[in-house]
Symmetry: C2
Subunit: 272 residues, 2 copies
């Protein structure tokens, strides 16, 4: 797979495990063959904490690669592997940022520009990580220090935010996530140390109510976090790029919604 | 002023008064010379209820004209002319929709596609009108029936929504607007008959807090009104087109924010 038909400019695909006691790993799509450094984007896909859609995760990573990012997706732990699951995926995301920062020079990455984009329950992981990257317990579990795991900015697509806001409705599912629902209500843990946050969602989302995104955005605005929010009227849950690349049924390629990617890239370019 | 260098395709600029007892009028920028019918857009400009910026109002109208709309701006009554002022501008907006609908054939307008876009306090007028277009008292004051004044859709740019949300802070100013602040809290009067609503604002707005737009959007979503919401992180109050045409000081031409016009047009095209 090459961007330019020249020797050396060949994408390198890597797999990086995170800890000996988990199935989590990072898959990276690295530009190489020049001397440039690039910002990084870690995709944290959805999948109801039971699986991840790997093809969609790769498509999201490649979309950022095409915009000049060193792109990754995180295969985090699932409920079948740890019960209750949380905060394991949050810890694995912290480890992901740390390992990318540690390898920044080798992977041609600007260590100050490590961004994270989460979708659906991946948005839940990222929203919690945004609230907790400096948390002592999370860093203890990750074996990291806050300065190693601080992200530059986060993007949340149709995020799950709080079990109090309509998802999940299944109490057994919630019990597999946590035995302390308050601890995973991401809107209730937003604080002044949250990093710039871009949120997009569809008002019509039939699975995860739009109130999840709205409530997190309200908390971000209240804490004067740099916030960009885009609520598109139409569209189902799980739209990913909302274009033909990731369309998975009729009505999931929506040009209006697909603007989120341009808007997010532009917003990132306006941050310090 | 002509769109095409052909006989007949010459914009006609009209001025339409609304009632013998007010200074309010509509200024229209009408495409003509063909047999097409067009949707309409009524711009309701800002100006703190003391004046309107006529150049900016015209620039906003021309932007919609260029996108194939029969465009108008409303010069509504000001506090120096009526005290307390409200609901006079809301009544004048109702009269505006009625007069456009009445003249739809002559003005080459689709009577089912009369849209309204309000900015700052103009957004307050439009938000209240969206809540109250079917209200008996408003229609009595306007001399209209609800079916004559129902808009197709509304656009709110950096709207003032409620005096409880940080603007105005001056109690004398508020007293010049109304002697019943609850009656002008537009977020508290949203109902199931509100029409599709597009809202945009900047999170950093130093004059009218972003909470105004957020609160109206929350109410619209709660009532299952078709809602599109765009909160852009940077930018001051009163950006209008947010491009060089309406820039009024350094930092008021902002390409990220200027997307609101494309997004709004696209959203309108997706409505029934």
């Amino acid at each position: 797979m090459s961007y330019l038909n020249q020797g050396g400019f060949v994408m390198k695909i890597i797999t990086q495990s995170l800890a000996s006691d988990s199935a989590a790993y990072l898959q990276g799509y690295l530009r190489q063959g020049d001397s440039a450094t690039y910002p990084a984007m870690i995709i944290v896909p959805g999948g109801s904490y039971t699986h991840i859609p790997e093809q969609q995760a790769e498509d999201l990573a490649l979309a950022w690669s095409a915009r000049g990012y060193q792109a990754f997706f995180l295969r985090y732990s699932f409920v079948a592997e740890k019960k209750p699951l949380l905060p394991a995926p949050v810890v694995e995301l912290a480890q992901s940022v740390a390992v990318i920062r540690q390898n920044a020079a080798a992977w041609q990455i600007d260590a100050d520009q490590i961004n994270v984009a989460g979708f659906s329950v991946g948005g839940h992981i990222v929203a919690l990580f945004n609230d907790l990257w400096h948390d002592a317990h999370i860093n203890q579990l990750a074996g990291t220090r806050p300065e190693q795991v601080k992200p530059h900015a986060v993007i949340l697509g149709y995020p799950v935010i709080s079990p109090k806001l309509g998802f999940p409705t299944d109490q057994e599912m919630l019990a597999s996530w946590t035995d302390d629902p308050n601890s995973i209500a991401a809107d209730e843990h937003v604080n002044d140390r949250n990093v710039p946050t871009f949120i997009w969602v569809t008002a019509a989302d039939p699975l995860v109510p739009v109130q999840n995104a709205m409530s997190y955005a309200q908390a971000s605005l209240a804490h004067h976090v740099d916030t960009d929010l885009h609520v598109f009227h139409h569209g189902s849950h799980g739209l990913a790029l909302a274009n033909h690349v990731t369309a998975w049924k009729p009505g999931t390629s929506l040009p209006h919604v697909a603007h989120w990617l341009d808007l997010a890239e532009e917003w990132l370019n306006e941050l310090d």
